[in-house]
Symmetry: D2
Subunit: 441 residues, 4 copies
């Protein structure tokens, strides 16, 4: 496989379904960064470096200086929401960023009016959408979205577009017949099949319009055969699902460490308290189920209890999310981990993470948008497994277990970039340093 | 570089200076495992698996089935201590393992009498050694150790030996002239140079006798040019320093995770409470200094503040160890980490690790003994950087910065084993899965 | 009111419905204390002291030396359970105490066979009782219990009896017509009224037999007009409800402290993880409801939001109990408290209590038994509000708000004892020390 | 003793040595409260209520409506500092309050210029005073302070004055001969005796001028016979020492709760991290010693290990304060408490308090000023033990052990107020409710 990565010329439009806390925090932040009053901390594409060559070469360029990414100056934002508030109003309402910061970019944010959303209350019972599209059937809604996309591209003179889902978690559903083929799916759109979730309609519209799609929620969305097939047909990059922030981020950091040391785990209890709109939606059991499945999956894949029954065979894993208004967007997690070591002696780890939900998620949206655009320019279509790093529940080729260990995910991401640019892959073997040393004696 | 790994035939003697809590926990544990009443949890050599080939091949053998390691049945223990207690008495005194377990292996432990130790009170003011060697000068002490080694090997019919330092942390010293060459060092031994610490005398004796040496404390020991040179001359594997357990283990797990995500760190405060002999020795500021240097180094190397000044340039890192008798060997750490994300917004992580010092350290001794013996049989002499995984402060070739990120250390260890056995190195690139997929369409 | 406290002569029988973790921990403990191999820590009647007179008098006798309590030597235990295991078997199964300790009192525990229980699965869906009484109606069951009581007293030659409910939490019910009068209640017994819970049948039997009753669970039990009336008629001491241990204990310690300092509270989130039978029963929402009501009530009464709306008017209080098998009886609670101080500035308190459920509860059973017996001998019949100290949800006279502040509860308990024995009540005024001082100048 | 409490007419001047974080937070706050833009949370005199009479009477007036306190409108602030910054500048520098809030009261704060301080570098090595008084001897400095007081009173037309020490902790000293009598002390002032600390010079000046004095730091200050004698002679109210905030506040809340339940304590480890000027001063071991003595004393008095050796005889108590700049004024404490219950079974409590040092201290300064003024108007001169509630290390009459239990302290404070105003003292006996009930049947 040879890559010829097209340059990032012209404007990149980032289209976002769901202009809530995460999206407004991203947009306000990018504007603040462009004005030089803030920094894009937490964004690998903006702040991260990558080692190239041997340790002794001392090559550690910024990623954005190594691979051709769209420049922040060339980004244009757009999006849909079930509320008609402009992005400034929505950001004030979200209470994530200080009013002082928001006022500094007020004109840019006020100019951003959401387009009417595709909404289905049965998928988010705790929400009441008022700013929504109407249509005879779901295909008509999909076409309305495509019309939005077309107009947006033209109006803003965009060279390329990407779409990142930042909407709420939808209720839990399992893939069914309507999701299996493009034909069945399109028929479902026409028949208003209830198993077609709003997020899938966005994904369908995006792929049909040649727009890469990244899914930040635990919904199925692009993780169904119909959309995967469509993406291959149109040669579009897709990825998902569920931004990996907060507690799950910590889990996929810590669990590989315990596993590396062959320490056993008897129980892992995870509690979360948060008080934002996301917390409110997840207070509904149907929506929590979707999130729970996403959150529970990570440990099994990392610990592989079937291969290590003495260490992880009896692990009890429980995740709770509690809506707790006093905290607002300041999500807090508390984990109790019961581990055991030498001769079975027990120990405990407690982690208390006082985090901020949208602050952790916003840079992931930026990175996914830029990397999806990069993949598209490198002709890497279909599922982008190398973006697993950003997801709680990474989408992979059928039959391939997702990798949850964040350090393997990082290695995969970095080696993909190196491979793309024709640099040597890194294995950390490093015996050569010592060989040379010995030869030189 | 081609490896021809000799098989692990005959008995392996593990010689341990310092038969305190860690060593007795190891020895009692190995005996219990041999009797089938317990399991060697936390030992990578005994419980860990390694992936070989492509993900879809499903090859994940136990490490001990993949590389030729000494069998637990073939291990014989021996050691030195400043107290005359046999291993059973010392283990009872250490209060790490339950009396019931210790009684189950009482005969084996009682049979183990420590040899008289080389001791110098100026290196451990809080200890009072009574079971110690006397000699006109340090060279005479070194020769007495060599005599011990010779006798032990003969007496127990050992094929091979390894030595692992499990003694207390010695007071802080900087390398000086006497440590620079073999000649200066040997002259220093004859002149009773105060800069030659007891642990160096053990290391000298080991290397001269052809015995690989691993250093579990933060002392210089084998990390001086004289011993490195000697190890090359005699083609002996050496490694160090300071077993990575508890808080530092957590640090080298968590810090790479924060760095991976380009999250900034303003402060990291680490407090420890422990009540064992180790805690008592570290209550002396001179000895704590040695440990502090070892503990503080890890973050700088992982975060590289010089390359990432906006993220880590102002990080304040403080480590405290408090002697707290009520906890005994149950070391507890508490970390407060002040991080910042998108636009500089602050978050906090608190980690409370209720660990057990010796339970975490014991399997490291076993692994280091077995892997040092393996390296020796593979003709890998000198500094074993691939064993960095086990150390707080890994020893490397001069001019090469130590790698502290536990996941890079693990990758290095695993790829070294793969390399040794002629297997493909793993890069986690994995694009081929998708290529094949696309070709098959 | 004049007290003439009868002496504690002869044997005291302690009858316990529910011989599970708490009861077996109590019984094994009392036997161990009697053998001199352990101490009754946590029991105010056995270990606590009381100050008498002025501070300068230095009078601080043990409570058991100050008021006439039954001696541990004179206690005989009996009880009912839905499982036929004897107390040794039940204690081994509960896994609270070490096998070694239980074996030291094995004969005493094995001798204790539970009587058949009154059980109604609709009140505890997660339990399956097999060792249960049968009867045509609930009055017949009550009579069978009375027969048990009569036989027990005779068989063991008891002078006096007390009953303490240590059974599971029953499902939530509200008081209804059948609970309002003795007549309605007795009719309900005959008619098998579903609103009469098993614990009420025990309470009815006890009071009818002249046996004081203390209620350790959050069930209504003796907190209904019918039983209160019956207790007055028979001049019997009753009290309840729900042993105050663990998280609620901490809450009624901490909340008065915050209130004392006029610190505001915005939110209090309480999470619990436990893995014993109690946790399993509470996994059923109906049973959890009963516990939740009991647990939620404490803060409102202490903070009085209606009097202090600026400080506590918007407080959000949430309690979660999670069944988490790896912990067994080692209940662990985690509280996050969002407080605010001067000018509304926010602060947080996190409390992590690694407690042991039955270890905390067992001494409360002992104290309640001994103090109920004392009250009875002092002719203090009806509701014993001075025992509020032991309860999550103290029973009071109608129209009187329960006092939850543990320090006011303690003051009430101590001043009641002082009053009973004719000592001066203590007010902590203490100005006299300074008056005398000034006069002496 | 009969009280005739004079009314609070005219202006009250509050004079503060040390216009640092605490004092500026207080002053800015009072100004903000006077403007109606904030509330005096945490101040018992402003927000607290007191129960009067029987529970059923429902009388719970605000304390400020019950006893005659100075009104916030009638307060005038003044003070001394070693830096010349006005209060606005000092408050901005302290970074406790948001700039927006400080700007809202900028004119009031800017008008407040500190008077030159009495400073002695040997008592606070880490400070460099530049705005200091000079004098031939300490008596001259005392006279200069008296002149300041006289001028302030006249200039602002104050009816009454109080002084509250808010300066840094001075180095540790023990009382010596010079502190024993007024004569020796005054001779020492003339001779520049090094054992006379700056805070004592302020206290001497205050008492000589008829100004009540409250001591917010752990220094001896007014807790020496010379000043106590002087206070009696001049009939002046004095009290001390060391504002009870943060960790010690939590300790005197929690420890009485554990003691109430006869739970044993094996160890209590307390760690603090803070980054303000106070933390910097306490980084010097001499100054920390003064604070440590104050902090360590509280547990012994509450647990009384000599009376309860089985429960508290072996308690190990350790307190650490760590200077940690990233936190600024946001002091954070972490406590680990090793307790044991029934049969000696061990449990642990961990408390993590994310507090704000000056936010907790400011309202204490206000309360102490207002209550000291009240005491003075009630002719209660000498040591005010009833203000123990506010102090880590309460000053008492010689031979009288200080009371540390915050709930006894509160009872003492409240009953003193009730006593002062001729209300019944409260004992929480409450048996009468039940007697009446029974009589009414």
């Amino acid at each position: 496989m040879e890559y010829e990565v097209r340059k990032a010329e012209g404007k990149l439009g980032i289209l976002i379904p769901g202009l809530g806390a995460v999206a407004t925090t991203l947009i306000a932040g990018v504007e603040a960064v462009k004005k030089g009053i803030s920094q894009p901390i937490g964004s690998l594409t903006q702040m991260g470096r990558i080692r190239l060559g041997k340790r002794t070469e001392g090559r550690h360029p910024l990623i954005k200086d190594f691979v051709p990414l769209a420049n922040l100056e060339d980004i244009v934002f757009g999006g849909w929401d079930v509320y008609a508030d402009n992005v400034f109003e929505a950001a004030m309402h979200a209470k994530v960023l200080e009013p002082m910061l928001l006022h500094a970019v007020k004109p840019e944010l006020e100019a951003l009016q959401p387009m009417k959303a595709v909404f289905d209350k049965s998928y988010a019972k705790n929400l009441d959408g008022t700013h929504v599209k109407e249509g005879a059937h779901k295909m008509e809604l999909a076409e309305a979205l495509m019309e939005d996309i077309r107009n947006f591209k033209e109006e803003h003179g965009c060279d390329r577009l990407v779409m990142v889902w930042c909407g709420s978690t939808e209720k839990y559903i399992e893939p069914s017949a309507v999701h299996q083929t493009i034909e069945a799916f399109e028929e479902g759109l026409l028949n208003n099949d209830p198993a077609i979730a709003p997020s899938m309609i966005y994904a369908y519209a995006a792929v049909k319009m040649g727009v890469p799609f990244a899914n930040g929620a635990p919904n199925l969305t692009v993780d169904i055969p119909a959309i995967i097939e469509l993406a291959k047909e149109h040669e579009i990059a897709i990825s998902g699902k569920d931004f990996k922030t907060g507690q799950t981020l910590m889990k996929t950091i810590l669990a590989p460490g315990l596993h590396a040391r062959a320490l056993g785990v008897r129980g892992w209890f995870s509690s979360n308290i948060l008080g934002n709109r996301d917390g409110y939606v997840l207070d509904d059991p149907d929506n929590f189920k979707t999130k729970e499945v996403s959150k529970l999956s990570v440990l099994d894949e990392i610990f592989k209890p079937e291969s290590n029954p003495e260490l992880y065979g009896d692990m009890y894993h429980k995740v709770r999310i509690n809506y707790y208004p006093p905290h607002g967007d300041n999500k807090e997690s508390w984990d109790n981990i019961d581990i055991f070591g030498w001769l079975g002696y027990q120990m405990q780890i407690k982690i208390n993470f006082l985090c901020r939900d949208s602050i952790l998620a916003a840079p992931l949206v930026l990175d996914l948008a830029l990397f999806s655009d990069l993949a598209q320019r490198a002709n890497m279509s279909g599922i982008q497994e190398w973006l697993s790093f950003y997801y709680k529940s990474p989408q992979t080729a059928e039959g391939l277990a997702p990798e949850h260990d964040i350090f393997k995910q990082l290695m995969k991401l970095q080696n993909t970039l190196r491979h793309m640019m024709g640099e040597d892959l890194i294995t950390h073997l490093g015996l050569d340093y010592y060989q040379e040393l010995m030869e030189s004696l």
